[in-house]
Amino acid sequence: MPKRDDIHTILIPGSGPITIGQAAEFDYSGTQAIKALKAVGYRIVLVNSNPATIMTDPDLADATYIEPLTPEVLEAIIAQERPDALLPTVGGQTGLNLALALSERGVLERYGVRLIGANLAAIRAAEDRQRFRETLVQAGLPVPKGGSVASVEEARALAADIGFPLLVRASFALGGTGASWVHRPEALDEAVRHALGASPIGRAWLEESVLGWKEYELEVMRDGADNFVVVCSIENLDPMGVHTGDSITVAPAMTLTDPEYQRLRDLARAVMSAVGVETGGANVQFAVDPRTGRTVVIEMNPRVSRSSALASKATGFPIAKIAALVAIGFTLDEIVNDITGETRAAFEPSLDYVVVKIPRWAFEKFPGADPTLGPQMKSVGEVMALGVTFPQALLKAVQSLEIGVDALDGSGPNRAPVPVPTSEELAVPHPERLFRAYRALQVGHTPEAVAAATGYAPWFVAQMHQVAALEARLRAVGSTTPEDELTTLLRQAKRTGFADTHLARLWPWLAPEAPVHIRAERVRALRHRLGIRPTYRRVDTCAAEFEAQTPYLYSAYEHADEARPTDRPKVLILGSGPNRIGQGIEFDYCCCQAAFALSDLGYESIMLNCNPETVSTDYDTADRLYFEPLTLEHVLEVVEKERPQGVIVQFGGQTPLNLAAGLEQAGVPILGTPPEAIRLAEDRERFAALLERLGIPQPEHGIAHTLDEARQIAARLGYPVLVRPSFVLGGRAMAIVGEPAALDAVVREALEAAPGQPVLLDQFLDDAYEVEVDALADGQRVVIGAIMQHIEEAGVHSGDSACVLPPYKISAYHLEIIREYTTRLGLALGVRGLLNIQFAIKDDIVYVLEVNPRASRTVPYVSKATGLNLARIATQLMAGRTLDELGVTEEPRVQGFFVKEAVLPFAKLVGSPAVLGPEMRSTGEVMGWDEHFGHAFAKAQIAAGMPLPTEGAVLLSVNDFDKGAAAKIARDLARLGFRLYATPGTAAYLRRAGLEVTPVNKVSQGSPHVVDAIREGRVQLVINTPLGAQAHSDGARIRAAAWEHRVPLITTLSAAAAAVAAIRALREKSFRYRSLQQHHR
């Protein structure tokens, strides 16, 4: 069937902000879908609240709305744009939920919008566990025992039938929110209550335990002519019980015979038919009992998912693109396979390599959160690695994680192996379980015992055991080992995936006195002398049966090389690695822009990255793609193979910057701002001297190498002080210390966060306004991209602070000073490319807090708001163009206000204090625009999933410093008709200010208390300002309860003031919606 011509305009909802469970993979899928549908002639309207995405680049869709993803907003945009069709399957769960809501409200029917890619019945049947199960049972397909309940009583009755342990899940919740394992009847009630609370429809699902069974996933594709293919099979290393997003996974499946595999394939097809998924991509999850082979279907997603992103990168089969094309009527046999250029998309990829995905967690940022892994996803990102064998892929994946580990025992250049685990520890799913399992093998536990304790399939354990055996033999090598034996072993080590840095630790004899990183250079030199270099292989979807046209490459140590570098002028872009807090999709956005700009300039763009969720690792983003760990070893080998004119390190966040020194030492040309300038900006002492020379004020500060020094400096500066380690991103281990007693612990943590680096102490500017600038510079001139004002005061990490462009409370006088300082700094540092500066304004003085001569987190937000594509222009500057030549000479002006708001993961990481501070904790961001600040702020809150109430009651509980300002806010809210509740101290103060307020007990004062009030739904908004760094247990309970019950929570008074403005605006008039294309026309 050719494409449908009864459709002209297609509306695509994105997935919104990056959250745990719904991340960058939907930028990849949305981007692919838009590109594919535009290429065949459709007009595309995109709605996504997340400005950090590539898909919201105004060049991509025809009309791009960065607006909240709610049914109301979509209805307004549908009325405005009048699309003929809605494609809900590339925007994650958000996309499907929106489609359901729009249909139920009759919006689709009213405006004649057809749903394509999935039908309502199929979405409902797949998303509602009860229906899914009934559908499968009716079709005779195997499922675990289980059922749906709406109350604790129903749950008890059902549990008696199912038996324990059993799984409790919240129906219709994302990423496993509200899910848990229940091992005893006594624990059932609490688990069910939690799930009922987390479910948007108030139902919980109970299910038979398949804990410890093998877990498999099939990524499948179907077209309108009932052609069906399996794109990829995935086997989880972690057995059933760990959310698949938190599992280490392997593709293709490794421990199935053909009849077993084909049974999964037949079942997947039958599930698609039973559920009624007529076209598109889907994944089907299975559990297989390793003792009997009994197979049950666990779930299916009738849409593109995180696993489909992984499967696309793992196989070279672009699932989202094909899903979009079959949604508009093409059949698989009509679509050409881009990689071979001659075969069709109607086939099943064959892999002649192994792919390993490892999740990346961020528990170090959430003290108190339980790192035990279970049915609720907790990871914030992931890495993928390709290797010829499982051990090679596994080791490369570990090296890709950027957690300082390069070996399976959890050791790294500055890290000791994990402690030898007990068998109880091995049984607990944990971020370090892989290392623990290897460690157990290393010290002589039998593979059988390790397999039994972990539930890993014996095959995987045997592979790890072989690695351990090789490691032991490598350890035995010494300076007297004959060269031919050394050569054989070294080659085998590299074929197995051992890192040079790891070999450097195993082989102290190579350079007994030298530090490990120097010894790693010796290993490299030795390798090269012995002729042991990587060979590059192509990902071709077909195990070499057809020739690959697409240079999508990974390293191996095999006989033949397929890189075939060209002799074109070329530039290598280093990506940002796994998403983590502080380094997310924004940097991938920048790297993609660099690739686009380089292609425009006539360069061959080469991307190196290891994150399967991203657009940058799509094989058609850059001209060539190396899917490799971002370590010096792997980058240098690619550089030697490709010999690029230069390498771009300023777009990928901290990851490539950490490699810059090593690259420079190896003589690799770095494009743009010299790394020396980046180092200068990060070196507090030299940077302070520079500011002084330029006559720019900075907070009083000091640098401590020891705890003692830190104590002295803090005493000199006076409390509160800001403490942070150097050379880390996202404010890791950064804290405000209010009193001497709290200093020691904070300094110790900071010293540990960046070993060998000093700790910085700054005078903390209480109640200062914080302002941030993104600018471009070419060595001659500095042009400001945007000045943004943070809504939270200084002390909240810039990544977690809401922020508004243009500034709404900064005087023209201060803005001029900011512009002047920006120019001075840009020129003094010799910036060629991007520059980000953080300012604080206090008592009429503008201070510079921090300068980052590289891409910042706000680059995509600024680019979307202003229409000035900062990253693309910066790339052109790095390639030697000047701002004059590019015609970029003026700071752009924007109409109205663009508010950015951070999205926080506290609901997923129960136990972590829900409070903002100098350490960044947000996973993603949203943007809201409107003519007036209040509206824009309100939109940002809606987009962030915390819509402000327009009526009801407010609970105030503020610290003593804030009580005066809180009274003003309380009065404003009271005038707007809100009822006031407050904890006793706050209530007393507000009463004295003449306000009518109902006091509520603190939790410590007994029921009925504040948490009861929140739980019972008596409060629609919580304003709670915590006191200093010490976790106030009552405040912590209030905030946790607010998160759990989805009551909007505001933790700073400046944000509260903004919220009051927003509520007022909400009540006065309705929103306006405008596409980026209209903004920038």
């Binding site: 053909d258 009849p259 075969t343």
Partner: protein
């Protein structure tokens, strides 16, 4: 391990010599080297008689993971001359496994080589076409292996079927244990009353027999050289021409028998080699593919419905569609290279496919062909 493990040497007729780790039996072998891109089912592949005369290279890197079980045999023993792979599993990890691949190959005298760059070899075969090769796991010098590979006459025009066909007719199943339970979930349509199907064994895979049996047929397997009259004397309701090894041009007696069956008007199903024999019997010609189709992911389009079947394939020769008489209707084409994958006769209940509807290993998309065949029989 590299020092201790026995070495193996693989030599190709183009002069390529690779060294690797030996597996299976200490032995020498000369063969035609083909690659198979299936990611599962090495047991079925290795026991497929169609591979007689060939050495199989697996493009999937890890082989041996699930060992060898009692059920997934397509014939009682390994049929390949040699095995080429990247990484042999150190353990067996599957609930049905009974022994390791390595031990099983050794027991049956089949040598193999591991730890070689299988992708390099695959690309070579893709670019240069199928190559003659020799392997030794017992120290035969590379020069000698090269000489053997180059002087070996190869498979073109040879009768390989002789080596794999049954000596005597027999009824399937002789032994119920040979009937794999996993392939056949309950609910397959049963033909009533039980039709009698005669299967010409050119190297038949057991799964063809299992499919017929599962649909209620009485199955008699006859030797490849059985004349048509003898087969017809068994009073079959239908005849299956099975898959098998080598070049159909080396089997004039089988073409002769096929003509006899065609003339008798008995319902006929040809699979793989059986399809090629039918093509020859109709006056068509067969030709060699550059490197053959060997894998479980081959898309085939049914021209009557437009539907794409993902099929298992294993053949080096194909029927040239242009040489077929007009009464032969082309029903299936390869989506990869457009070669003929299936045909039927308009005037008789006769059809054939180049791919393997019985799968084993491979996707089950074409199981329906067995139903279609039994429908014509009734």
């Amino acid at each position: 391990m590299p020092q201790l493990a026995p070495r193996a040497v693989l030599a190709l007729e183009d002069g390529t010599v690779l060294e690797g780790r030996a597996l299976g039996a200490p032995a020498d072998a000369v063969f035609e080297l083909v690659f198979n891109t299936s990611m599962t089912g090495y047991q079925e592949i290795l026991t497929d008689p169609s591979y007689r005369g060939q050495g199989v290279l697996f493009t999937a890197p890890h082989i041996g993971n699930v060992g060898i079980n009692a059920e997934d045999f397509e014939s009682p023993r390994p049929q390949v001359e040699a095995v080429v792979l990247r990484a042999l599993s150190p353990v067996v990890a599957n609930w049905r496994a009974q022994r390791s691949l390595d031990a099983w190959l050794a027991h049956h005298g089949v040598p193999g080589i591991a730890e070689v760059d299988t992708r390099y070899l695959t690309r070579k075969l893709r670019d240069q076409g199928t190559l003659k090769a020799a392997l030794s796991t017992q120290g035969t010098p590379a020069q000698e292996l090269l000489r053997r590979a180059r002087t070996w006459p190869g498979l073109d025009g040879r009768d390989m079927v002789r080596e794999v066909t049954t000596a005597q007719p027999y009824t399937w199943p002789g032994d119920a244990a040979l009937h794999s339970r996993l392939h056949f979930p309950a609910g397959v349509r049963q033909a009533e009353p039980a039709p009698h199907i005669v299967v010409y064994d050119f190297g038949a895979k057991r799964n063809i027999l299992r499919h017929l049996l599962a649909r209620g047929a009485r199955v008699t397997v006859v030797p490849a050289h059985t004349p048509a009259a003898e087969a017809l004397a068994l009073q079959p309701d239908g005849v299956v021409l099975s898959n098998g090894p080598g070049d159909p041009a080396g089997l004039p007696y089988a073409v002769q028998a096929t003509r006899g069956l065609l003339e008798a008007g008995v319902p006929l199903l040809g699979i793989c080699l059986g399809h090629q024999l039918l093509g020859l019997a109709l006056g068509g010609r067969t030709r060699r593919l550059k490197f053959g189709h060997h894998g479980g992911n081959h898309p085939v389009q049914d021209l009557r419905t437009g539907q794409v079947l993902i099929t298992a394939q294993n053949h080096n020769y194909f029927v040239d569609a242009d040489t077929l008489p007009p009464e032969a209707e082309i029903t299936h084409l390869s989506l990869n290279d457009g070669s003929l994958e299936g045909m039927r006769l308009q005037d008789r209940p006769v059809f054939s496919v180049q791919f393997h509807p019985e799968a084993a290993p491979g996707p089950h998309d074409a199981f329906g062909l067995f139903d279609a065949f039994l429908d014509t029989v009734r």
